[in-house]
Symmetry: D2
Subunit: 261 residues, 4 copies
């Protein structure tokens, strides 16, 4: 039986990385994902996403009433933002501001604001523990608009700095990523980092949302309080996984709703 | 004696390309120029200008009450935006939106809005006659904020499209560039395209502003109605030229004032 | 009956653009194409292709004894090299040298030399008529290694400059592109620029190779003397087309052999 | 009196980072430096250096009989290769191969081969201790041409891996950089990382070369066996320093000669 306060049904946000095509190169099935998620982390051009892709993605999100967030990353197209880059705090703050502003221009024209910020890839991983980079990202969001929530890993330096700065910090869980006993993600460079079975992933997510638990790679049970669940969509298989997750949540009586709602 | 309506002193804006450093590479003496101009065309990262340079330039402009405009260009760092790139209208519109939004984020944090748009380099030259690219730039500005003026060459497709779209179109003159008899700029690839003598340039600008005339490369006299004069600042010499222009204008009783004022 | 000198079977080269993935972004089914073609135009990093993609593609080509050529392009990742860029001749020559050398390093390590040069995308189109850019590309090849053939459009400025410079110039035909009556390719921006029916394309190629003719968009018959036929491979459909072309040529008794052989 | 074997004069190589301009952005006085050094570490386009800059620098080096080496770096133009980037070994190996090959093409055309390899910036710092990146760089050099020496910090993982792989490993000293007691460079992010007084630097270098000693930041004396001394040239002051170093060495009877000679 779902944990809930009083008679209210439990609810959760589903977010996914979108707008990650670049020029001639298509990545992910954004249309399929936008039919499933409630929040779209739209790339901002530094690790992926050209201006027209950003616009089109925002238009499609707006058409489906999916909330748009800025998925900010390292300036590293060849590495897709998945390689740690040792940026100085000042330059990282400014790079994040640049990306949010760029996306905002295209989002506004598409009829939707930018409603939250989520770091991407290696930046996401870095700000779990890298205090200076975490503070730099938070500073950018606060300078840009202190009403914007920050989406990140529960227990991360990012969410702690965000909360300290008076920003709303939103913890998320990952549907298809393995967890260490410490509650961090197993690195993509490790075997078993990514789960593949849709049914297993879906039931795992239902447990996360309704019970607040997830089983780590060593079998230990972690407490996980997530307001949003991240699903991936960069392969036909990933779309199937996202669909299974959504269906399982709905079947469990969970309401899917953007965390910004 | 200056041409003026009634007893009012003639006035003009001085604009210059700023924020064109990139990472380790420094270009131009932005501080010196900001003491001389009334409008700063700040690069937006596509042909020049990294995020921290944009921010610092906007901060310095704000401190001196110099108006900030978005100097949008082709995505061509190795060519500094000085090579024509045959972009499709849609992708050009989106690229311009991206740049304006990116600069706006850093400008706002620096305490100043983006108050106008001016194309840079080969894009500037292209939109003199390239109808589709001119319309694409204008569309971006109109979609972003129809209150933003567009700065360009008198008689250009850009200014015509801007006016047709209901935007304020602001014609500018170039202090140190040679003009063809048709009123376009002599290409930088041609000899004599750039003038160098500060005194000659200064008196030329005074004539432009007070009489509305300029002498073309063939000796013919062009009518030139400019609300702004562009000065360059990417060398110590260029700063000296800009200073000579400002001093000569002030000595001629011309009031220097941002065209957005 | 195939046109041939004496009793020898007619022969032709099949070439395709390969190595056009970039980091996280996969493009084309290189493995499938390498089983069909005799020459691989490997991207060099300017319009597509990261270093590891170049190496892997060359290794796969070497394993299948497919000849490797340098597919040189404009420095334009977001535009995939498909937008004309007005480079100066000197900088274009140097950019081509840079690309050939970069690919050569990875090809040599993969066990194969770079055996020819073919311009990509908008550069390919430009050098049909742009004398300065055509000469600039030819100059690069001649400076790098005058024994390298240049692959291009019959009648193009590129092949003329190559021949004038003492390089071997190799005319090619396109399996799935429509021709203008003048023998140039219909622009990708035009409808009907690309043919899609595998059977139609295959019989068209057989006619090109055995009779030296192709039917242009206006129905006129062009004389087309091609030593190589370019097939595309950036979609599952394209691979099917390439397979149909190869099979039809073999069924018609045409020997498939690298033009450098 | 210089330490030397028998009556032979001591000799040393002077190397400097060159070819680091990029398009419109000029960095360093390459001509002045080429009159002073015996080896030129020419940038390869990833952290700095466009193709035409590479060519021109190699031409100028060849004209002065200065030996050309490949200064390979991270793909990070906005950070000038001065930020650690967590590249996988395979992609780093391929990136280094790409850069060496690209430079070689332009160097050969300029009349000189690439005669050694030296990592740049943050890559240089990383391979002091980062075993995987050090091995990846060495692997690239060995695959490209095992006769190429590798220039690096004495005691670094890079030089150890190079020696283990059968490459010649060449230790170098820095004229104007402060040393930690462990023999590594004080980070540029620390105060006092770079020395400025030409006379102090010059006498320091003479001591390094003739006695094999340098004084670390804590006053301790380090043993330093360097076959080459790195001087910087990216400011007028730096050229003055380089000149002072060369003059002091010549006055001390040291012969300046490329280490590859």
């Amino acid at each position: 039986m779902p944990v809930s306060s009083g008679n209210a049904a439990p609810c959760v946000d589903l977010n996914s990385d979108l707008g990650e095509s670049f020029g001639r190169w298509v990545l992910g099935d954004d249309q399929a994902l936008l039919a499933l998620v409630t929040s779209a982390n739209v790339a901002c051009g530094f690790h992926a996403g050209d201006p027209s892709t950003l616009r089109r993605t925002c238009e499609q999100a707006a058409a489906r009433r999916v909330v748009v967030g800025a998925q900010v990353g390292y300036p590293d197209l060849p590495g897709f933002g998945r390689r740690f880059l040792d940026m100085e705090p000042g330059e990282l703050t400014d790079a994040v501001l640049y990306q949010i502003g760029a996306l905002e221009a295209l989002a506004r024209v598409a009829g939707t604001p930018v409603s939250y910020v989520k770091p991407h890839g290696a930046l996401y991983s870095a700000v779990v523990q890298h205090e200076m980079q975490a503070a730099a990202v938070v500073r950018a969001v606060k300078e840009y608009d202190p009403r914007l929530p920050v989406l990140g890993l529960p227990g991360s330096a990012l969410l702690r700095h965000a909360a300290d700065a008076g920003l709303r910090s939103v913890p998320e869980a990952f549907a298809d990523r393995a967890y260490t006993p410490a509650g961090t993600l197993v690195s993509r460079r490790e075997p078993g980092a990514v789960l593949h079975d849709p049914a297993e992933i879906a039931s795992r997510v239902v447990r996360m949302v309704t019970e607040g638990h997830v089983v780590a790679v060593d079998g230990s049970v972690l407490r996980l309080a997530a307001e949003s669940v991240c699903v991936h969509g960069d392969s036909p298989h990933a779309v199937a996984v996202a669909r299974a997750v959504r269906t399982a949540l709905e079947d469990a009586g969970v309401v899917l709703r953007a965390f910004t709602g």
